[in-house]
Structures are given as C-alpha cells and as structure tokens.
C-alpha cells in the first residue's frame, strides 16, 4: 500500500513536529483531523490518478504520428510550429517586426524644405532695369533657383522673392542681411526677411529623426539685443525643434550669452523642458552659425550621454571637444581657432 508522506512536520525541521502557519502547535485535535483528512485525500488522489493509465502503445502511436507529421510538414512549417510553441519567442519576434514597421512605414510630418527670401528695395531712382540687376545679384549670391520681382506699395518700390533649397535659414539670412546692408550703403532703402518653406511630407521615422537637427545663425553686428533674440527665436521655431522658446541675448564685454528655454519642448522625453546656454567669447557674433544637437537623454546614464554627444560631434568633424556630463548636466567646450 502506498504511503503518503503528508504530515504536520515541516520538512525544514528534522527533529519533531514543526509549526503550522499560524505558529500554533500542530498537535491540537482539530489540526490532527485536518492533517489526517489531507493525507487521506492525497492517498485517494494517488489511487485515482494511477487508475486506467493510457497504455504505452498509445504513447508510441502518438510519437509515430508526430514524427510522420513533422516529416510531411517540411522544414518551414516545422520552424513555424516550433516558434508557435514558444510564446515568448513569438512575442519577441512580433515586437521586432512592429519596431521595423514603425521605423520603415512612412508617416506624414512637417518638414522645412527650403527658405523664401524677401528683399524689399525702394529708391526714387530705382528703375525696372535696376531692380532686375539687383535681383540677379541676390540670386547669384544665394544660389537661388526661383526668382520673382513684384511691385510693392509705394513709388519705385519692389519686392524680390527668391527661393533657396537650404533646409536651414542661417546662410540665406546672413547673405540677405549683408546684401541689404550693402544696398543701404549705396543709398537704397532695403528690408530683408527669410521665411522657411514648410511642406507636409511623408517619410519614415529615420528621416523624421534626422530632421530634428536645428541650426541657428547669429548675426549681432549693428542689431539690438531684442532684434537678435527675435531672429534666433524665429530660426528655432522654423527649425521645428521648438514651439515657443524663450530666448535671451546679452552682451557683456567680450562675451555674448544666448539662453534658450522652452518648457514645452519634447526633447529629453518632455520632462522638465529644455534649457541651454551658449557663451560666445571674443568679438560680437557676426554670422556665427550654431548647430544644436538634439540628443535623447531620457534613460541614459551620464557616460552614455557623454558618448552620444561625442559621437555626434565627431560625426560633424569636431574631435577636440571637452565634454563633461554630471547628474544629467552637460557642459561642452569646443576650441575653435579663429
């Protein structure tokens, strides 16, 4: 007769009876009865479960059928079936497939595809031929591929509109401003503006990610602090990286400081917004171009963040930067010979 082991003894205590879960002694009458009942039931389960077993011949047939099915299915279906038997593997495979789809399947987003340069020129002596010559010079300077001239409000006033393919506004802004200053020095009244041309495009996540690098061009010569701030703010908004950034531009001696802050910026996972401070030592910025690297910092350690910044800088040909990251605060010093 099969002997069922179950008793009140805790297998961890070899000497004598153990204790029940409540800590009470197990030799009370009620507990003895329960232990006896459990023992009896387990013994009954032992007999019942061993009753009328499936014959070994049946298992043999099962195996034979299984082998036959495997041979008939071929390697592809067998692999598919084996994957199906491992839910964790199938889940991982599905997740990977979804990730690839998300990265490769196109979706629509706004992208800056070029810059529209508007130069308003007015002068009492300005003729059609004269504005034509100015427009051609501007187009040549910008490398514009589309040029239109129209009359503006006022006598002898024209608006030259040029379209350039640059995704960033820096070069176009610098060239146009310099062109406008040159015209003013010749006695013309000139006003320039550069607006990004934004189009809805369809592309994948990779392409969208590359679009999030934004550049700003700082030209502070002959302009007030507030004008420079407006200029930088417009460039940041047109880059698509910021919705409503707060920009402060201050000059102190040889050092110019630009502070950019946007509480709603989704860089760094949208936690705590975005804030950065650029210090430019030396002469007043004149056509200085800054490219901002938008690095996903959430979930990265300081070392990983530093490595990521260094990698992106090196990709841009900057190898001698001093980078320090401590508690998520980033300090980058780039030594550039003038």
């Amino acid at each position: 007769m099969k002997r069922i082991h179950f008793d009140a003894h805790d297998p961890r205590h070899k000497n004598g009876p153990g204790k029940a879960g409540s800590g009470s002694p197990v030799n009370s009458g009620a507990e003895k009865e329960i232990n006896r009942a459990i023992k009896g039931d387990l013994q009954a389960l032992h007999y019942v479960s061993a009753d009328r077993p499936i014959p070994l011949a049946h298992t043999k047939n099962l195996l034979a059928e299984y082998i036959r099915d495997e041979n008939e299915r071929g390697w592809f279906m067998n692999a598919f079936t084996r994957i199906g038997r491992r839910p964790w593997f199938a889940g991982s495979l599905l997740t990977a497939a979804i990730a690839v789809l998300v990265l490769l399947v196109p979706f629509s987003y706004d992208r800056t595809v070029g810059q529209e340069v508007n130069l308003t020129v007015a002068s009492p002596e300005l003729t059609q031929e004269g504005i034509g010559r100015i427009a051609n010079e501007l187009a040549g300077s910008l490398g514009a591929n589309d040029l239109t001239i129209r009359n503006a409000a006022g006598v002898n006033s024209f608006v030259v509109t040029a379209r350039v393919d640059d995704r960033t506004s820096g070069k176009a802004m610098r060239t146009t401003m310099a062109f406008a200053r040159a015209l003013e020095s010749e006695g013309y009244r000139a006003e320039a503006s550069v607006e990004p041309i934004v189009e809805r495009v369809s592309s994948n996540v990779y392409a969208a990610g590359f679009d999030r690098v934004c550049s700003i061009s700082i030209d502070a010569v002959g302009r007030s602090d507030s004008e420079v701030e407006d200029d930088i703010r417009n460039q940041l908004i047109s880059s698509g990286c910021f919705d409503n950034p707060e920009v402060r531009f201050t000059r102190s001696g040889d050092t110019s400081t630009i502070t950019i802050q946007d509480e709603n910026c989704d860089v760094d996972g949208g936690v705590g917004g975005f804030k950065c401070e650029l210090k430019i030592e030396g002469d007043t910025p004149n056509g200085l171009e800054h490219e901002m690297l938008m690095i996903e910092a959430e979930g990265k350690t300081d070392a990983e963040l530093e490595a990521s910044i260094r990698e992106q800088l090196e990709a841009k040909g900057i190898y001698d930067a001093d980078i320090s990251v401590s508690d998520g605060k980033v300090k980058v010093e780039i030594h550039k010979e003038r």
Binding site: K2, R3, I4, H5, F6, A8, D10, P11, R12, G18, A20, G21, E31, E33, I34, N35, R36, A37, I38, K39, G40, D41, L42, A44, L45, H46, Y47, V48, S49, A50, D51, R52, P53, I54, L56, T59, K60, L62, L63, Y66, R82, R85, P87
Partner: protein, 184 residues
C-alpha cells in the same frame, strides 16, 4: 525514447494527472511533455538521468500551461463518472467515496502556486526525496522544503475553510471532511 520512457510511463502520467485539476488535463500535459521531450532529446547527455530530465520537462510544460491557461480555472471540474468510468462490483460505494476525496484533493492542490503544487505532488504523493525534487525543479533542497512547508500550510487552510463550510451546510458530502475522516 520509448525504451527510456517505458519504466516511468505510468508513473509520470499519474503525476501529470495529479498536477492538473482533471484527468483529461493531466493526460494532455503528459502527452505534450512526451512530444516536447522527444524534441529536446538531443539535450539529454546522460541517459541514466532520463527520469529526472523527463520530470523536469513535465514540470516545464506544467508551468507553461498554468501561465497560458488561467481561464481553465473558470471551467467546472469534470466528474470522473461522466468520462465513462463507473463504479463496479461490490466496491462501488468505496470507489465513489475515493473519487470524491481525490476530487477534493485536486481542488485543494489547484489553490497552490505551481512550484508548491509540484513539490507537494512529487514529495508527498509520488515519493520523491527532497533532493530529487530539487533536481527536477532545478532549485535547492532548502527551496523545496520551503515550498513544501508553504504548500502544506495552504492545503491546511483550504481544508479548514472547507470544514467550516461543511458545518454550515450540514452534510454536504462533496465538501465536508466526513468522508475523509471515515476513510482513515
């Protein structure tokens, strides 16, 4: 593989039934384990350890079924009588009583987490030693002892509750401990 399986065929099949709530589920578990063991046979290095290896496969499939089939708990327990197994001869009454007790034990075991249930079944019913259970469960003997202790505590609590319910129902044969006591 059949040569290796033959000596423990019936015993492992019975273990499958003990781990599950019904004989049908237990048979399915055993057959799945046989096929899985066949697939993984190349990983068996020492044929003398086939017994513990096969039981480890059985427990692996059991855990997998527990994870996948939580909805099974919502299904009613099958009555062995409905499966065409009927009491025979003069021992019909004893047969029925034994099946009621076995059903109650299955219900009690079903309340345990899978590792505790396996430990109780392998040690208390199948007669494996603590070291053997530890090898099959791929854990330490102390962990097995802990599982046994906790599993038994839970079983006792289940029976305590059952006893109280039985008293409240005044003679509910399926749930009271009366038949268990009288059989011992």
């Amino acid at each position: 593989m059949l040569e290796l399986l033959a000596p423990l065929h019936d015993q492992a099949q019975a273990t499958g039934r003990r781990l599950c709530r019904t004989s049908g589920e237990g048979d399915d578990l055993f057959q799945e384990s046989v096929l899985r063991a066949f697939d993984k046979l190349s990983s068996l290095r020492d044929e003398s350890r086939f017994r513990s290896w096969f039981y480890a496969v059985l427990l692996s499939r059991h855990r997998s079924r527990v994870r996948q089939g939580f909805w099974r708990r919502l299904l009613p327990l099958e009555d062995e009588l409905e499966q065409g197994r009927e009491p025979v001869g003069e021992d019909g009454g004893e047969w029925e009583e034994r099946h009621l007790m076995a059903t109650r034990a299955s219900r009690a075991l079903a309340t345990l987490p899978a590792p505790q249930r396996e430990a109780v079944v392998l040690f208390d019913i199948d007669g494996f030693s603590v070291d053997e259970v530890a090898e099959i469960q791929k854990t330490s003997p102390s962990a097995v002892k802990s599982r046994l202790s906790r599993g038994r505590q839970k079983l006792r609590r289940f029976y305590e509750r059952l006893g109280m319910e039985g008293k409240e129902r005044h003679g509910d044969e399926a749930n009271s401990l009366r038949c268990a006591r009288s059989s011992t």
